[in-house]
Amino acid sequence: MCLGVPAKILETGEGAAVVELGGVRREISVMLVDDVAVGEWVIVHAGFAIEKLSEEAAEQTLALFREIAEAAPSGDS
């Protein structure tokens, strides 16, 4: 029940924003986050953006994953 989905902000309005969720456009509340802008990513839970997603932090985590994958001996089982 605590599932939250990353979604990109497509439009903003008064306390609300339009995002794309699984290919469907949906209006969500942005009353829980500060000044979202078009193009930013948020996590959507129960119709609310509960936080912004930091693309920079995501890239850092992915870079760490790449490092771990590359350091692993190839062809192991």
Partner: protein
């Protein structure tokens, strides 16, 4: 789903998963390390990804009490049914709640005999429903953890601002760190590391687990819900154990911060007040609930309709309580897969799609 979902597919790469599994295996000792995933969303992701069997022998993943539906006591369902039976009442609920058994019935069964329940995606949808049906009393079944509390609070606030007077909430909001403290202190559970929830942590901040890590010496890692997040979280827990430290670390740094979402916290503090509350299978945990504050009493269904939620001990044969505490695995319950199956659930852990028993049943015990 198939055409490359950004920030989802990136965290599902099989080659990296394999490397992480190897890393976990090389860090593990002779006996399997006992870790608990606290959150039901993690439980489902672990079962779906077959992570238990990938790590068998190295790590034992215990499922925790973090499925809101599973820990909602009988008395809550009974109170919801009683409210729904009042003339003019219209219940609104998350879909997961419908099949949860109360003392003698469930919302779904009552629906067959005239009880009206609308399934909503967002608590705000229930406010919209109330505004559109002014002749009805819409009661939203506000079940959830800290992740959902701001959404429920946001709906109450919205109804208050818009003057939607025929909207109220039967609140059953619970907080996770208090429950983790109970499990950490239980010598029978013997947890060596907590994989902490992703989105609860987004709201409350990762610092919220510091008391658990410090007081009980149990490593805590907040991890996202994708397979690589979970494997990385487990790996970080094993590294802490290896180093002999117990601190709070954050794998889900793309969304969760140490302080959490202050705006959401302020809203929750405005709408709710901390209280003691009963958890199905566990009992009353001091300070683990959120009740609606007196200033919003007109939106509190318990007060508005005089329909108190009564907490009572659980039915005897069902061992959901021991499952929720990580004392036994679902397969160790005598009812599992026999008297208790998803189509005919006996206990709440088999009802919710996020329940440990349902996840084990659907994806196999491993």
């Amino acid at each position: 789903m198939k055409h490359g979902m950004k920030y989802i597919d990136d965290f599902r790469d099989p080659a990296t998963a394999k490397a992480l599994v190897a890393r976990i295996r090389s860090d593990a000792g002779d006996a399997p390390v006992r870790l608990m995933e606290v959150c039901g969303t993690h439980t489902v992701a672990i079962a779906r990804g077959g992570i238990r069997s990938l790590l068998s022998g190295a790590v034992t993943m215990l499922s925790g009490p973090g499925c809101p539906v599973c820990v909602t006591p009988d008395g809550y369902i009974d109170a919801a049914i009683a409210l729904g039976r009042k003339p003019g009442a219209l219940l609104a609920s998350f879909g997961d709640m419908l099949r949860v058994p109360g003392k003698s019935s469930s919302l779904e069964r009552e629906k067959g005999s005239g009880l009206e329940v609308r399934v909503v995606y967002s608590p705000l949808d229930a406010v919209t429903l109330a505004a559109a049906t002014p002749d009805r009393e819409v009661v939203f079944l506000g079940v959830g953890f800290e992740t959902t509390a701001p959404a429920i609070g946001g709906a109450i606030k919205t109804a208050s601002v818009r003057g939607v007077r025929n909207f109220s909430v039967l609140s059953s909001v619970r907080t996770i760190p208090e429950a983790m403290g109970v499990l950490a202190a239980d010598p029978e559970v013997r947890i060596e590391g907590f994989l902490c929830p992703a989105h609860v942590s987004v709201v409350i901040g990762t610092d919220a687990y510091r008391p658990v890590a410090q007081r009980y010496g149990i490593p805590c890692v907040v991890a996202g819900f994708e397979p690589l997040d979970i494997l990385m979280g487990i790996s970080m827990l094993l590294r802490q154990k290896k180093e002999g430290v117990a601190r709070v670390e954050n794998e889900y740094s793309r969304v969760a911060t140490s302080i959490g979402n202050r705006k959401a916290q302020d809203l929750v503090r405005d709408v709710f007040v901390s209280c003691d509350t009963g958890w199905r299978g566990i009992g009353v945990i001091p300070g683990s609930g959120l009740r609606i504050a007196d200033r919003y009493a007109s939106f509190d269904a318990e007060k508005k309709f005089g329909a108190p939620v009564v907490f009572a001990p659980d039915r005897s044969a069902c061992r959901c309580g021991d499952v929720l505490k990580g004392k036994i695995l679902p397969v160790d319950c005598p009812l599992f897969g026999k008297a208790c199956v998803p189509e005919e659930p006996y206990g709440p852990c088999m009802v919710s799609s996020e329940g440990s028993c349902a996840a084990y049943y659907k994806y196999g015990g491993a």
